[in-house]
């Protein structure tokens, strides 16, 4: 789904320019340039340890870049104060690889937690209605009073996504949404990512090394190789190449 302004130019919601990040002597990101346009699902592909998760953690301000610029919804993430960063985070949902549900709280409390702290004017009834709305959207209304430890991996992923949706973000960042799940649940999560895009009008970056997921959800694909995005485009454009690194990645995924 593409959204263009009056002049026909696609609106950028995330702009990354010449981004560098190292951990000691390990140079993870070496001059990354990337745009996310309003309304699109962008899939970031790459092997484990290539810095995909680091990239989205920099986008949301959990990590600082060594150099370069990251602009999210018009704000430079590393130049704004903490209060402005918190406001910006209200508009950016982050779904963690392991779901990161608060294990001392029930599903209901997990979903209420961000809402009651950020929308203090809501009544108890409105909070309950909002919790039920997002739980219904991910198809898990029946888990309302369960603890995270009682849920399956797929259910935890869905609740994690619901918890980010409750703040009605403009941008969704998914970190390995299908990692560790069985193929059927993977398909369900892929369907959910597309449904979220359509129903909540979000722009998304999906970090994955699962090509089935990339093909199912990606309007556009960017492949991280040796610290930079050397290939960007549609799924077919990215994989129609003689580059051995890309072919190996493709073959491994589909043979597997």
């Amino acid at each position: 789904m593409d959204v263009t302004d009056k002049t026909g130019v696609r609106e950028r919601v995330v702009e990354i320019r010449d981004l560098h990040k190292s951990f000691g002597n390990y140079h993870v990101l070496q001059g990354v340039n990337l745009d996310l346009y309003r309304g699109e699902n962008l899939v970031v592909l790459g092997k484990s340890g290539t810095g995909k998760s680091v990239l989205i953690k920099i986008i949301v301000g959990l990590l600082n870049a060594d150099s370069g610029s990251v602009k999210v919804l018009g704000s430079e993430v590393d130049k704004i104060d903490y209060k402005s960063l918190l406001s910006l985070r209200l508009r950016v949902g982050f779904s963690f690889q392991n779901s990161a549900l608060y294990d001392s709280m029930t599903v209901r409390q997990n979903l209420e937690f961000p809402l009651v702290r950020n929308r203090r004017n809501l009544t108890k009834g409105e909070v309950a209605a909002e919790v039920e709305r997002v739980l219904d959207a991910v198809g898990l209304l029946q888990t309302l009073n369960q603890m995270p430890s009682e849920l399956s991996g797929g259910q935890r992923k869905r609740i994690g996504i619901a918890r980010t949706l409750i703040l009605q973000p403009d941008i969704m960042l998914y970190d390995e949404p299908t990692a560790g799940l069985d193929p059927i649940t993977c398909l369900e999560i892929n369907g959910l990512i597309n449904e979220v895009q359509e129903r909540f009008h979000t722009s998304s970056i999906v970090i994955t090394h699962d090509l089935t997921c990339a093909k199912a959800v990606g309007d556009r694909v960017a492949m991280l190789l040796d610290g930079t995005f050397q290939r960007q485009g549609t799924f077919e454009e990215v994989f129609n190449t003689d580059d051995e690194r890309v072919k190996t990645f493709y073959d491994y995924n589909f043979i597997q």
């Binding site: 560098h20 190292s22 951990f23 000691g24 002597n25 140079h27 953690k57 949301v60 301000g61 959990l62 060594d66 150099s67 918190l86 406001s87 985070r89 209200l90 950016v92 949902g93 982050f94 963690f96 690889q97 392991n98 990161a100 549900l101 608060y102 294990d103 001392s104 937690f113 961000p114 702290r117 950020n118 203090r120 918890r163 980010t164 703040l167």
Partner: protein, 260 residues
């Protein structure tokens, strides 16, 4: 960008870096704890967890300490025919040192390790990051509430320990001599001064703050992996107990100046 020949800081530099980090952590606590929005509900929950759930252990150890201390002190006093001083001796010993120290050591073991492990586990499983990205200040919600709760409840537990210890002492005195409980309490309370109460309160507040702060610092900054959680819990107990003894020595010296 990091250089390939980047030097790692030496042991002494690392120690100063840690001290600076701790200083910043304490500074952040004072900044976050007393500025709105306040996490009153979570503070109450933590007070309940730290205070109420420690009562059984505190009661048992306090009572036993009272009984044993009285029993061990009796022969020495009996040599001088001074067993009638037992209530005063037990009252002063319990209030000035035994109750604050005993409560703090139990809290360092039970509360400190629990805070260290809980926050460490939350760090490892990205729950703290999840709070950050959902526009909630995790420091205020997790650290400020726990440190405040420990600072509030440990002084209360200290006076409770002293009271239960006195009951233990009374039991021992009662079974060995013909002393009424009224006489026992009046004798021990007469020997306790206002300075003793103030000194014990300040000491207990200091111990509570230290135990809460150490547990939170270790857990909040724990390294990744399950090993990090174990290390955080262990460091919370060891460092907490060590600092409690250091503070005990300093406060005894300090309040000693007012007794002469």
């Amino acid at each position: 960008m990091a250089e390939d020949n980047e030097k790692k800081p030496g042991r002494i530099s690392r120690m100063f870096l840690v001290l600076y980090d701790v200083w910043q952590f304490i500074g952040r606590f004072f900044k976050e704890a007393f500025l709105p929005p306040y996490e009153g509900k979570e503070l109450m929950r933590q007070c309940y967890d730290i205070g109420y759930r420690s009562l059984l252990l505190i009661s048992l150890t306090g009572f036993i300490t009272g009984v044993v201390f009285t029993k061990q002190s009796r022969p020495s006093l009996a040599e001088f025919g001074a067993t009638s001083w037992l209530p005063s001796l037990v009252g002063i010993a319990l209030l000035r040192t035994l109750a604050p120290l005993l409560t703090a050591l139990i809290a360092a073991g039970k509360v400190g390790s629990s805070i260290g492990a809980e926050l460490g586990s939350m760090r490892v499983t990205e729950q703290i990051d999840a709070m950050e990205v959902s526009a909630t200040n995790p420091f205020k919600f997790l650290v400020s509430t726990r440190v405040l709760a420990a600072t509030i409840t440990i002084p209360i537990l200290t006076f409770y320990t002293a009271m239960v210890g006195m009951l233990g002492a009374l039991l021992n005195v009662y079974t060995n001599e013909e002393t009424s409980w009224q006489a026992f309490f009046s004798s021990s309370l007469e020997s306790i001064t206002f300075l003793d109460v103030i000194a014990s309160t300040i000491k207990a507040v200091l111990f509570g703050f230290t135990i809460g702060m150490v547990g939170c610092y270790q857990g909040y900054n724990s390294s990744k992996g399950t090993e990090g959680v174990g290390k955080a819990a262990n460091a919370a107990v060891v460092t907490g107990m060590f600092l409690v003894f250091v503070e005990e020595v300093i406060t005894v010296q300090f309040f000693g100046l007012f007794r002469t």
